[in-house]
């Protein structure tokens, strides 16, 4: 267990998104939940971590992503989830970077819809795919008067399940294609090395007991069943612990 889990509690109902809007944007007006949060100190979905500075996602897109990943890998009182792990930050940085603009993606036409066995055949780069899909989702839900981040958890789950099943067109992106991208990115953001901006404080690795990037096990591999309790180690690890993603941000907030 880390400090994070002790300090963190999630209210079972209610959205989280409002308190995590990008640093550059206006903080949303206090809601009932936020004032609960300040009194109980409980509902802050990303304690012990700086607010995310979004490079790619605008505030509406970020609000969707935060709320969606919070349902895909929710918090509970045992282990943090995607929000605490910084998955929205991971996704944002991937979309803003080389992968987002289509590195390693064969991008020539002609474009034909293929069979499932032929895989992805759309012209969208990941960045285009996310933007197109999320903007379509946000537009549809705004028109219905139910932005995703204001729905209840049950409603959000149901909506995500409908995206997953497919059959809905999101500005040209089949909803199941978008869902698979979002889910895959969420897994990556949860489990990848913290140098990529997710898996903050290696919470996901702590959850499963994965020791991380420094890995030398000759003496232990034949000790069948041994329980390894060491704190995981990241690529970005320094000798005194902590991450060095941005040296000006202390490893632990006061």
């Amino acid at each position: 267990m880390t400090d994070l889990t002790r300090r963190f509690m999630l209210k079972a109902t209610g959205a989280i998104g409002a308190s995590l809007v990008s640093a550059g944007a206006c903080v949303a007006a206090a809601t009932a939940q936020e004032s609960d949060a300040s009194s109980s100190g409980a509902v802050r979905a990303a304690p012990n971590a700086q607010l995310t500075t979004y490079l790619f996602l605008n505030s509406d897109e970020a609000a969707f992503v935060e709320a969606a990943v919070a349902r895909l890998i929710p918090e509970d009182d045992q282990w943090p989830g995607a929000l605490t792990a910084g998955v929205p930050n991971y996704i944002d940085k991937q979309l803003a970077g080389a992968w987002g603009v289509g590195e390693r993606l064969y991008r020539s036409g002609p474009w034909r819809p293929g069979t499932p066995a032929q895989g992805y055949q759309l012209p969208f780069t990941p960045a285009e795919l996310f933007r197109t899909s999320i903007d379509a989702i946000n537009k549809e839900l705004a028109q219905a008067g139910t932005p995703f981040s204001t729905m209840s958890s049950e409603q959000q789950d149901a909506y995500l399940a409908r995206l997953e099943t497919g059959g809905k067109d999101l500005g040209g992106v089949p909803s199941n294609v978008f869902f698979e991208h979002l889910w895959e990115c969420t897994i990556e953001g949860f489990f990848s090395d913290p140098v990529y901006g997710g898996n903050r404080d290696m919470v996901a690795w702590r959850m499963i007991g994965f020791p991380g990037a420094y890995a030398s096990y000759y003496d232990l591999v034949d000790q069948h069943g041994i329980k390894i309790n060491r704190a995981p180690m990241s690529i970005g690890e320094g000798p005194h612990g902590g991450m060095h993603l941005n040296p000006d941000i202390p490893a632990k907030l006061p």
Partner: protein, 235 residues
């Protein structure tokens, strides 16, 4: 790379883990988990075991920092698993040492576990030591972090962790270990006199020449100090 040492101290966290709730669980049954007794370990360290073993503190100091000469390794904050294993190896003769062998033989398995856990739990200061030639340290840093292609030598930190902090539970730290001691152990592996580690260390030591050995030893002794110096705020 700058780090903030006070709070999320990896070493503190890892030491806690290193004390170690390490148990070999068989597929068939769940044996009772033995937790080492730190208080008892502290007594063994301070007083030895009457009639059998002298106090560890006589050579290693009560805080495990030894005397800095390198004749006795720094063991403060070292992996408990590793310390206990070395004691077992001294006792069995797998690791040859005339001083440690009778001491290790005199300790029971519980004694060894307790005193290892005690020293693993200590966070001792780094003694002020004269620093070596910067050219030597620079070569050591290269070997520690990158390796040497011409000698087909990978970086030490692959196994010994970032900055040489070790990889719990089995791989000891080198960061802050004494230059003389590191050099001595590498030479022992090189010459075949130390045999209690996997083939890895003997093979690696044979790829090092005397200058390389002096270099990594000098680097690791001071690695903590240099990292600390680099973390001082410039403003």
């Amino acid at each position: 790379m700058r780090a903030n040492t006070p709070s999320l101290n990896h070493k503190a966290v890892s030491m806690t883990a290193g004390i170690g709730i390490l148990c070999v669980v068989s597929a068939a049954a769940q044996p009772a988990i033995q937790q080492p007794n730190l208080a008892r370990g502290a007594i063994i360290a301070a007083q030895g075991v009457a009639g059998r073993a002298p106090a560890c503190a006589q050579c290693h100091a009560y805080n495990g920092a030894s005397d800095g000469s390198g004749a006795f390794p720094r063991i403060a904050g070292q992996s408990a698993y590793y310390l206990a294993k070395e004691l077992r190896d001294y006792a069995s003769g797998l690791r040859a040492n005339a001083v440690m062998a009778p001491i290790a033989k005199a300790l029971s398995a519980d004694d060894a576990a307790d005193v290892a856990a005690y020293y693993a739990s200590i966070k001792a200061p780094y003694l002020p030591l004269s620093s070596a030639d910067p050219v030597l340290i620079s070569r050591g840093k290269q070997l520690a972090r990158i390796g040497d292609a011409a000698k087909e030598l990978q970086s030490c930190n692959n196994c010994h962790g970032p900055g040489g902090v070790g990889e719990l539970p089995a791989i000891p730290y080198l960061a802050g270990q004494y230059e003389h001691y590191i050099a001595f152990q590498l030479t022992m592996w090189q010459r075949g006199f130390r045999n209690n580690s996997p083939d890895a260390m003997a093979d690696i030591a044979k790829r090092l020449d005397a200058h390389d050995i002096a270099a990594v030893a000098a680097y690791y002794q001071q690695v903590d100090a240099s990292v600390l110096a680099a973390t001082q705020p410039t403003k």
